[in-house]
């Protein structure tokens, strides 16, 4: 008796595990008895999200995810009002499971297509292809092209923007606060943009995976994680600059994702105007990185290069991911991360401004904030052509 009691005392986890074991047993029994007393009400809800489209000569491949509560069977495929031959990786798609449907169809470059999948119950899943173009092969040429785009829209503009450092250094404390406020304005715009963008994207992905909640989850996670990183970095004088660079980097990852995925589905023409627009838009991000380090004495060139790459290079990574294995839910989560990171960065810069003597909202700080928001809005117009 005493020995047993001693053993129980020796295992403090036993009482903690007891409810878990009972829960497991209860679930097992409930399932084994097929939910006693509860009858299924209503008809099967068939919902499928088309997560990705891949076009190869003579073939349209759709990557599907079951977004509803019930399993779905795809029985026929119709392209532009005609039955078409197809193969699928899974006869039945279970809840949250995915399947690839490959339709044989002689599609023509540049034309629009409407794909309709008919399920066993006669329900249809519609998917529009706005302008058919062959999906890029994941060869070196393609990765090279995506890297080039990332370089153009991410790395180079940020690096150019950082060249404002010497000028920012000559500023008085008064104007410095203006520039920092300007930076906060820029970042605020990007953060809001990322949240809206992410929410929209999440709506296109499988709702069952969380939908818009994914964006906020990502944002909170990034905010808290960066708060932790901040504690770790705080002994270094450039820590705010690093956080800014990281936040902008996550934002540029989202930008790369958008470009890459649009390119992959043929709804993006990689024109000069687009690249110029993104470049102008992102140059201001360079200023945001250097503003916090301007007053911290000398900064090593190596550090500046690192900061620039941290902020700009994720655009390349994003373009690769976006073009090769894009998933709307994942992209929404990443945009959320970007937004959370930016929120943390804004908090950091704000603290720095308070240390510099800013109290409340002086006219030049308010002006800086507004100008930052406006510049981002205006340069954003350039990329919406």
């Amino acid at each position: 008796m005493e020995a047993a009691a001693a053993r129980l005392k020796a295992h403090p986890w036993v009482p903690a595990l007891l409810p878990v074991v009972i829960l497991a047993a209860a679930i097992g029994l409930f399932v084994a008895l097929d939910a006693p007393g509860l009858d299924r009400v209503g008809v099967p809800q068939e919902e499928l999200a088309v997560e990705r489209t891949v076009l190869r000569p003579g073939e349209i491949e759709l990557h599907l995810r079951n977004d509803g509560a019930d399993p779905v069977r795809i029985e026929q495929a119709v392209v532009n009002d005609g039955f078409a031959a197809f193969d699928q990786s899974d006869e039945e798609i279970g809840r949250l499971r995915s399947s690839d449907v490959t339709i044989r169809y002689p599609w023509i470059e540049g034309q629009a297509y409407e794909v309709m999948l008919i399920t066993a119950t006669g329900a249809t899943i519609d998917h529009a292809i706005d302008a058919a173009t062959e999906s890029p092969d994941a060869g070196t040429g393609f990765y090279g092209l995506m890297a080039l785009i990332g370089l153009y829209v991410g790395v180079i503009p940020v690096a150019i923007g950082m060249l404002w450092l010497p000028w920012v250094r000559t500023m008085s404390a008064h104007w410095m606060r203006f520039v920092l406020a300007f930076t906060v304005g820029l970042l605020g715009f990007l953060g809001i943009d990322a949240l809206l963008e992410g929410t929209e994207l999440a709506g296109q992905g499988a709702e069952a995976l969380g939908g818009a909640a994914l964006v906020w989850l990502g944002a909170v996670a990034a905010y808290l994680a960066l708060a932790g990183v901040d504690g770790w970095l705080s002994r270094r004088q450039e820590h705010t600059a690093f956080l800014v660079a990281l936040g902008i980097g996550l934002h540029n990852l989202g930008e790369g994702l958008a470009i890459g995925s649009a390119y992959a589905i043929g709804s993006l023409a990689l024109g000069a105007a687009l690249v110029v627009g993104f470049a102008l838009h992102n140059t201001t991000e360079g200023l945001a990185i250097v503003a916090p380090v301007a007053r911290s004495g000398s900064v090593r060139a190596r550090t500046l290069v690192l900061l620039g790459l941290l902020a700009g290079a994720p655009a390349i990574l994003g373009a690769w991911i976006g073009a090769s294995f894009f998933n709307p839910s994942g992209a929404a989560f990443m945009l959320g991360i970007g937004a959370g990171a930016i929120a943390q960065v804004i908090v950091q810069i704000w603290r720095q401004m308070r240390r510099d003597g800013e109290r409340g909202l002086s006219p030049n700080v308010a002006g800086g904030l507004l100008l930052g928001l406006f510049v981002m809005y205006a340069t954003g117009l350039l990329v919406s052509v």
Partner: protein
């Protein structure tokens, strides 16, 4: 039921939607076309070659994937073709019993449809009588919804099978008897007339109604073709088209006919939601008798159009053995199930 899932990313309005529709052509102007897709000339040429091959592979396949088993449906479109229900003659009156029942049918391989049927089949039985006969149709509603039987023909209002007149709507479990004379001769139609009307018809409550002229017609290999369609996702547009219900059935099982023999086709358009349907025969022409109410053909043609509820009789002979296609010349319907083959044998 519907879920629209494009995964197009709309980033600041650039990459999708109306803005992109305007933007893309502009961007196309800005840099050379090949650069847009990263293709070099030899690669592009190779892609074209590939394309042609793929196109060939794609169009080699006509029809749906798989087949519908007649055993699952309980009726076979091939048997429906030559299945005429003459009822039973009792005391000089021709009598039928028709039962409405709800039944799930397979309209394209794997695609189930919750149909409403007359006698368990879609189209309902082809009722056949001779001009001037007295007809008596006992209608039993075994479905879970009210229905009627409305016959095209000439008769008194109380026998017209519409709600509110005569027996009106026949409630589930109830029955009634329609009685009228077989007139005029020709090819007619019967269908449910309960409201909502389009729904009651589209779900399968229709059939051909043949009244032979008092002196009969020439001997022929007679076929019934009821052109129909199915709105499987309830958007009031058809997803599947067919003759006698099963999409592409006669592609898989061509209709066998004898070379030189007179073939008479009773063609009925029971399609809902689309205004027109049509019939086109390959490598042949036919005499066309609209509604079958005159014994002289109106037309000698290879394509005929029918509106909703319209029907007509086609007479033709195949001069050569072989496989000959027939389909709606509304090509969209053809590729959504309304096409088939005649197999002409010596």
């Amino acid at each position: 039921m519907r879920k629209f899932g494009t995964h197009r990313v709309s980033r600041r309005g650039l990459l999708g939607g109306a803005a992109a529709a305007g933007a893309v052509p502009v961007l196309h102007e800005l840099i050379p076309h090949q650069a847009l897709h990263g293709g070099t000339s030899p690669a592009a040429a190779a892609a074209v070659g590939h394309h042609a091959h793929a196109a060939h592979a794609g169009t080699d396949h006509l029809g749906a994937v798989g087949r519908v088993a007649a055993s699952a449906n309980g009726f076979d479109p091939t048997e429906i073709l030559r299945d005429f229900d003459r009822g039973t003659l009792r005391d000089g009156v021709r009598e039928w019993e028709i039962v409405a029942e709800d039944r799930e049918i397979e309209v394209a391989p794997g695609v189930k449809y919750a149909a409403w049927t007359y006698n368990g089949r879609v189209p309902g039985p082809t009722l056949r009588a001779r001009e001037g006969e007295r007809l008596r149709v006992r209608f039993v509603n075994g479905s879970s919804h009210p229905h009627t039987m409305h016959f095209h023909g000439i008769h008194r209002d109380v026998m017209d099978g519409v709600p509110g007149i005569g027996a009106g709507n026949i409630q589930p479990g109830r029955s009634t008897t329609y009685e009228f004379d077989a007139t005029p001769f020709g090819l007619h139609l019967y269908h449910c007339h309960s409201t909502p009307l389009a729904e009651h018809i589209a779900k399968g409550l229709y059939g051909a109604f043949v009244i032979d002229p008092a002196d009969g017609r020439h001997d022929a290999d007679e076929l019934v073709m009821v052109m129909n369609g199915f709105d499987t996702n309830f958007d009031r547009a058809n997803e599947v088209y067919a003759v006698n219900t099963v999409a592409f059935h006669y592609m898989n099982e061509p209709i066998r006919v004898k070379r030189g023999e007179l073939v008479r086709i009773y063609l009925v358009n029971a399609l809902e939601f689309d205004l027109l349907n049509s019939f086109h025969i390959h490598a042949n022409f036919f005499d066309y008798f609209p509604t079958g109410t005159r014994l002289e053909p109106r037309d000698f043609t290879d394509t005929v159009i029918q509106g909703q509820g319209e029907r007509g009789i086609l007479e033709l002979r195949f001069p050569y053995a072989g496989k000959y296609m027939f389909h709606a010349h509304v090509s969209e319907f053809a590729e959504l199930g309304w096409m088939g083959f005649f197999e002409v044998e010596d």
